[in-house]
């Protein structure tokens, strides 16, 4: 059974009193966004950026100071959490310590006054789905972290919610399990076609899970886009820096044309593909250059000195000095390629299609 639910936030602001009670601050500042039915959307940003506050407003634990939250077009601002058709997976799992695995998962269904037989059927199916069949009678404190996480997920899924909410659910798991669980979450979400909102500060989690990533900072949205878009075409220096590693180089716009933008970098013109109406000739800008797009070799456009070189397995990482500018460079799959020693000279070149322009502020 697929429930197709859209969520819309209209000019949402949430103000809190500061911890020292001296004033107020805006955790979320006039945010509007629309989450399409069946999509997996991630709210990504550093701690304090407002992502969790948005999630908690959708769930009903916080009330917006201003603005409207709409689910399928209906305003739900004043609806308490228990009257909302969303289910949340909590960061701390929030399992009921006095109830068994079965009773934890059955909790919400019992409140709906379902028959015992139907509850048992649904709970077992949910536990099956998260791979916990057979552990029904355990108490939460008898489970590993990963198992507790699965109970929390089953407890949310069993409600057949129209919206699934995740509050950094994997942050308490070890690295391997985290990767495994995010595949499972993605798999189950696709299978059920549930509209999902996922909060995380881990960019790899956001990239691997989402249809759409919403990058936030200081209570406002910096960029909304598909994972590839957010990585390759970051809307701001903040987004470029927060997602992955980025080099920033000063450049000047020479000309803006229909298909490309010409910039001057290190006294050399580069034609960056793509139309940019927001830029003016003569404007000072920043070029975003990802480490893995920089080429090092015997031949190239610019001379540089290697200041640091280290072997990472999948790649060789360098730090190079390009006329006083420090650049991070990553050469993937170093086996069989030339490696440059520290203090050696090297030639550098950039691919025009890998350059991206962001505004200077």
């Amino acid at each position: 059974m697929r429930k197709m639910t859209t969520i819309e936030l209209r000019n949402i602001t949430k103000q809190f009193v500061t911890p020292d009670k001296a004033g107020t601050f805006k955790a979320v500042d006039d945010v509007s966004l629309r989450i399409e039915a069946g999509k997996f959307v991630t709210l990504l940003g550093p701690s304090g950026c407002g992502k969790t506050t948005i999630l908690r407003m959708i769930a009903g634990f916080e009330t917006p100071t201003a603005g409207e939250i709409l689910v399928d077009g209906k305003r739900i601002n004043d609806l308490p959490p228990d009257k909302r058709d969303s289910a949340m997976v909590f960061q701390s799992y929030a399992l009921f310590p006095h109830l068994s695995v079965f009773n934890n998962v059955a909790f919400g269904l019992e409140l709906k006054q379902m028959s015992a037989a139907l509850i048992a059927e649904k709970v077992n199916a949910a536990l099956q789905m998260v791979g916990l069949a057979g552990l029904e009678n355990r108490q939460p404190n008898q489970l590993s972290g990963g198992q507790q996480q699965r109970v929390a997920l089953a407890r949310a899924l069993v409600m057949e919610p129209s919206v699934l909410l995740f509050d950094e659910p994997l942050s308490n798991l070890d690295a391997k399990l985290r990767v495994h669980m995010r595949r499972e979450i993605r798999h189950i979400q696709r299978q059920l076609g549930l509209t999902s909102v996922y909060v995380t500060h881990d960019q790899s989690e956001a990239m691997s899970l989402s249809d759409q990533v919403i990058v936030m900072n200081h209570g406002v949205i910096e960029q909304i886009g598909e994972p590839a878009e957010v990585y390759q075409k970051p809307a701001s220096e903040f987004v470029a820096d927060f997602i992955g590693v980025a080099n920033f180089l000063d450049a000047e716009v020479l000309a803006t044309e229909a298909e490309k933008t010409v910039v001057r970098l290190l006294d050399t013109p580069f034609a960056v593909p793509g139309r940019r109406d927001d830029l003016q000739p003569g404007e000072q800008v920043r070029l975003v250059i990802r480490p893995e797009t920089v080429r090092l070799g015997r031949e190239g456009a610019f001379a540089a000195t290697v200041t640091y070189s280290t072997y990472m397995g999948p790649s060789q990482e360098y730090s190079i000095d390009l006329g006083g500018i420090r650049l991070q460079v990553e050469q993937p799959d170093p086996v069989g390629k030339e490696r440059f020693a520290e203090n050696s000279q090297v030639m550098v070149s950039f691919r025009e299609e890998s350059l991206h322009i962001v505004k200077k502020h």
Partner: protein
Amino acid sequence: MTAFFRRWRFQFLDDLAQMKKIARDPILTSAILLCIVSLFLFVVFPLYKVLQQSFFNPDGAFSLDAYKLLFTSGENFKAFSNTVLLGSVVGLLATFVGFMFAYCYTYLAIRGKKLFNLVAMLPMISPPFAVALSIILLFGSRGFITNTLLGLRDANIYGFKGLILVQTLSFFPIAYLLLVGMLKSIDPAIEDAARDLGASRWQTFRRVTAPLVGPGIANSFLLVFIKSVADFANPMAIGGNFATLATQIYIQSIGNYDVQGGAAVAVLLLDLSMLLFIISKYWVEKKVYVTVTGKASRERMPISDRLVVWPVAGFCYAVAGIVLALYILIPIGSFIKLWGINYSFTLDHYIYAFGVGSKAIFDTTWLSVLATPITGLLGMVIAFLVVRKRFIGKGFINFASLLSIAVPGTVIGVGYILAFNTPPIVLTGTATLLVAAFIVRSLPIGIRAGVASLQQIDPAIDEAAADLGASSRQIFFKITLPLIKTAFFSGLIYTFIRSMTSISAVIFLITAKYNLITIAVLDQVESAKFGVASAFSTILILIVYLAIFITNQVLTRLDPNIKKIELT
């Protein structure tokens, strides 16, 4: 100023938005209203009445006569200075004894530490006169030590010295329980570090341990002071001519039929208690370095150095021995024909107690039974609301329940007379008023226990339940209550015991219709019938023990793994 106003306005609007959500939940709304109304009616309103009464003369005109009398009457001024002197001396002595016990318990390698907890528990489950009664039996004019053994005539334990002795022995457990929690939560690694840096054991104690518990010691002094100042039973029993504010209120309003004068004294006592309470709450507690809930990283190596152990442990064992002896004396005294003159065995006192006092025994028990579940549930509901919900009026609930901790029972008693004697609400002489007094006296402790255990539970658990469709009522009964059931049942037992043994507030409220055991004991002590007083006290202790036993049995039935209630 404008920033303050803006913040206040914002907070108000935010609360208002929150209220909209709460308003959709009729059960939550009515629970909040019920709490606010009952706290207003039974805590704030009577105190307001006391204040008001002290400002108006019997004709209803504004007058400061009551206060004039307060400062011109030598009697009242004497009572005030007596009270402060007594509070200070007992505060110091009880804190010292309590600290020795706490240090002994946490630091020393000795046997029989359980004894300390038993000794600390005894004053809590005993009738208020127990220690005073025993001291009279030992050191009174017909006392076993003074008269029978030493052959002294006219030994007089009544007055200041007797009161100091009795109050110190009754109240040092308060200091002990506070300080033992504090010492336990000091991470031994801190002291190890001091030793490692070259401090001797004494230097470590003086420069590290003592400063860490310094605020705790100050707080313990204040709490004992408050307790001493509010104490009514002991000054009545053994104070003799040494009047305190608490007894003065009673003598003035009941003995002299001058409720207005009593109210003026009550305001003085209320101010004194509130002042101490505010200092303790908002100044001393802010300075506490170690959290009482903190857990040390590892066990502390107990000290077995004889130079330390022998004097400290020796002192503690001696005090513990005296306390135990005093309590054992009560049932013994109840079987002795005529203390000090004829030590032969008799059951006469029980026959008399059950004959004359059966109604008091019955009334006390059923009124306490009535108050117990109401207090227990109300305490947990208030704790839940205060910790987990945001609503307009939460500040009031917090304030009113804190207020009732600091208010001495005698002040509540006078307040109830003033508030409920005349319309619109006439409750004087009813069981309702007695039960209300019982509830108000034990509610703050129940709330505190509930708040403490709720704060240890991740709020996300409540949110998860709400998220899954549970209403506030369902969350409370299905999640909160099961998780804090130990605090709940301790609250029940505490309320029952406290109600059974209470006197200071209810002595103002009893009528011919209802009598209470504690008041019967007081009557017997005042007429020097110590045998009957002991018999009543013993019966009271037995009823209390029976209640603890039954509760533990019920708990074991409910859940074999649950922690038994030990009142420490």
